[in-house]
């Protein structure tokens, strides 16, 4: 780890290299192409909004890295319908603030006049951006936020036609969790009694209403401790209930920092010792959370939407999943995380959409391309023509387990793929084991 000053220095150096690289790339473009791009009509402008700083800034940690790769890949432009266009990406940081996300989207729409809007990571980012695009009639594609939160969370009603004309989204949803959990929770012998801890926020209530009934149908007995407010410093009531009910599986969708408070207290009260599967969602996506938990984190289970062992390539960056992860580690000096691949997947899908549009500079034509989009991405294939609702399409989830890294690893935790029922083309990397305190 480097100190703050060193980090800044590296950042500056990196920025310098990036700038220098960009300049070189610009010079390398044939003169004819460059002059052609000088006219505004021939440059497709793409806005990209993501949280790159603030409380959920970890999601956007790899965004500059991925964006840089994509910019290099399209430095010479793309060909659409026999015509060559330049592609310009304009990246904005929401600072983890939904109000700022909406503002950034409006700036991109009104100021930069973008032809396509991209956004990623959590409903707090993609929903305000999509709302701004829907209102302004700008085509928008987003990812990494459960699709129900995107679709129903913005006012669509089940069974009614989609109210959205301009905004499209691909991400896992409740059905993916249901398929994944039914498989992952059968990998270890348990009494199939599941304690669930869901906060009283939008996600928690959606999971309570939609996922819990599906899990019950799959043969699990659900013990719901009831809604609670995020930021809770004491969970003894909930833990005592789960203990009393003899739950051997535990599942939670918390505000991530709350998980450590819960799990340490669960160990104090003997519940962690009783649990065989501790399935985190929302929490446990990123290694630093596990590192902060220490040895209590060895063996915890979670779901992942991308992994370095994914067999898919990312066409927009030209890298395989493994190369993407290794490249990120070299670039950042940190361990790879699943959002790196998911951000690459968003660009993969966006470039296919641009290339398949009859006229990428025409908003209606661009939106039509999104509605019929089929693309190979780093997260797997997506197909907007197959539903479940007109504006959304799911990607698969894999079941993962955080394990103690092997001797000699630079990082304390490794992430193994242990369940693939929801995403069968992804290979398993390890056999799932039951949770035991301190691994």
């Amino acid at each position: 780890m480097s100190t703050g000053a060193e980090k800044r220095l590296q950042l500056n150096r990196r920025r310098f290299v990036t700038l220098a690289g960009g300049a070189t790339a610009a010079l390398a473009v044939p003169a004819s192409v460059r002059s052609a791009f000088a006219q505004g009509d021939d440059v497709i402008r793409v806005g990209f909004v993501s949280p790159q700083s603030g409380p959920i800034g970890i999601f956007g940690e790899g965004d500059p890295y991925v964006l840089d790769l994509v910019r290099k890949a399209v430095a010479e432009g793309i060909e659409v319908g026999g015509k060559r266009y330049g592609v310009e990406f304009i990246s904005k940081d929401t600072q983890s603030d939904p109000v700022r996300a909406a503002q950034m989207a409006k700036d991109l729409i009104n100021g930069d006049k973008v032809d396509l809007m991209l956004s990623t990571s959590t409903p707090e980012t993609v929903n305000p951006v999509a709302d701004a695009c829907e209102a302004a009639g700008v085509p928008s594609l987003s990812a990494t936020s459960p699709w129900e939160a995107f679709y129903f969370g913005r006012g669509a009603k089940p069974g009614e036609p989609s109210p959205f004309k301009w905004t499209y989204h691909f991400c896992f949803g409740v059905a993916n969790f249901a398929t994944l959990y039914a498989d992952q929770w059968s990998k270890v012998e348990t009494n199939r009694r599941v304690g669930v801890l869901l906060p009283s926020d939008a996600d928690g209530n959606a999971i309570r209403g939609l996922l819990v009934p599906q899990l019950e149908k799959a043969g699990f007995t659900i013990v719901d401790a009831g809604p609670y407010e995020s930021g809770n410093p004491d969970f003894s009531t909930q833990i005592n209930l789960f203990k009393r009910e003899g739950c051997e599986i535990f599942n939670t969708f918390p505000f991530p920092p709350d998980f450590a408070v819960f799990w340490r207290q669960a160990a104090q009260k003997g519940f962690a010792q009783q649990v065989k599967i501790c399935q985190m969602a929302k929490a446990g996506l990123f290694a630093p959370e596990l590192e902060a938990l220490g040895p209590l984190g060895y063996g915890l289970h979670a779901g992942a939407y991308w992994h370095r062992a994914y067999p898919f390539r990312s066409p927009s960056t030209g890298l395989s999943s493994l190369e993407l992860a290794d490249g990120f580690e070299a670039w950042s000096g940190k361990q790879w995380n699943q959002q790196v691949g998911a951000t690459a997947a968003l660009f993969d899908a966006a470039l296919v959409a641009l290339k398949s549009a009859a006229n990428p500079k025409d908003k209606a034509s661009m939106a039509a391309a999104l509605a019929g989009l089929k693309a190979e991405t780093a997260c797997g294939a997506i197909d907007f023509t197959s539903g479940p609702v007109p504006n959304c399409t799911p990607i698969g989830l894999v079941g993962v387990q955080w394990v103690k890294a092997k001797e000699g690893s630079k990082h304390p935790f490794d992430l193994e793929i242990v369940s693939n029922a929801d995403h069968p083309s992804v290979p398993l990397t390890a056999e799932m084991t039951a949770y035991t305190v301190q691994g």
Partner: protein
């Protein structure tokens, strides 16, 4: 229910440490430091820095952090708070609000947004416990926090009661001008109080980082608990702070025992109830007793 009460009391120990500094600032320097929670988190990051970057032992890091934070408190009082206080009570509030934002973003710049914890550096202390009869278990870390709270408040009480500086602090808190008349330099006493208050905030931050995860933005959520403990326990009273912390903690855990959704609500309700009673009592005193206060309100 017994378990809920026990957990609530232990949680109160943490609240007491957090609230003591806020109470001291309000009691002596007469303003509410809205950056108190952020200073607590800063203390935790400083201790983490000593552990992770300098390789110091955890308790040594804590020992090194507290004097640094005390010096910061001294400096903040001298450079910012004392100046803003001259312009009335609103400006220090705004200044500390701004300081909070500065601290949050400064910590983000220096330490990044990754969640961090001291809990993984103290071995099994963060999650081991003693099992008692009647299905009660008490965590070692909450117990340790509670004991430290009692010791720190006891030491602070002795400091205020027995030492010359302590007496000067009490005199300044009662009437700064009168204290100046008898040779107490009030400005210096304010700096001492700020130093102690910020060091206490840092200590609370260290315990927060041991039991939970911290991020640069974790401070404001802690401020509300500190503030409620201070008001429940009585402003400027040290042992009152401990009582306030325990009352808050027990109210919250009993609320959660009724229904998990009532955890924070129960805390807020007890806070509002105590505040209401206090305001009403002041009102009664100003209107010459209960009878006339009630009748006066009616007319």
């Amino acid at each position: 229910m017994l378990d809920a009460i026990v957990q609530g009391i232990l949680l109160g120990g943490y609240y007491a440490i957090l609230a003591a500094g806020l109470s001291l600032m309000f009691g002596v320097v007469r303003f509410i430091n809205l950056a108190h929670g952020d200073l607590a988190v800063l203390g935790a990051y400083l201790a983490l820095f000593c552990v992770e970057r300098l390789g110091l032992q955890v308790w040594l890091s804590v020992a090194a952090t507290l004097p640094i934070m005390a010096a910061l408190g001294w400096f903040l009082q001298a450079a910012i708070f004392a100046r803003t206080l001259r312009a009335g009570i609103l400006l220090p509030l705004l200044a500390t609000f701004g300081l909070g934002a500065l601290l949050q973003n400064g910590m983000f710049g220096l330490f990044g947004s990754d969640t961090k914890s001291l809990g993984n550096h103290i071995g099994s202390l963060s999650w081991s416990s003693w099992q008692l009869p009647l299905d009660v278990s008490i965590g070692k870390l909450p117990t340790f926090t509670f004991v430290v709270a009692v010791l720190v408040l006891g030491a602070l009480h002795q400091f205020l009661a027995r030492t010359k500086v302590g007496r000067a602090i009490r005199a300044t808190s009662i009437d700064a001008e009168a204290a100046e008349l008898v040779g107490v330099e009030a400005a210096r006493i304010h700096r001492v109080a700020a130093a102690v208050a910020v060091a206490l905030a840092a200590l609370a931050g260290v315990f927060l980082a041991m039991r939970a995860l911290i991020t640069p933005y974790a401070g404001p959520a802690q401020l509300i608990f500190a503030f409620e403990s201070v008001v429940i326990g009585g402003i400027g009273s040290l042992w009152g702070t401990l009582v306030g912390g325990i009352v808050l903690g027990v109210a919250q855990s009993l609320g959660a025992w009724l229904s998990p959704q009532f955890f924070q609500l129960a805390g807020h309700l007890i806070f509002l109830a105590v505040l209401g009673v206090r305001l009403w009592r002041t009102h009664v005193a100003e209107h010459g007793g209960w009878r006339s206060a009630v009748l006066g309100a009616r007319t």
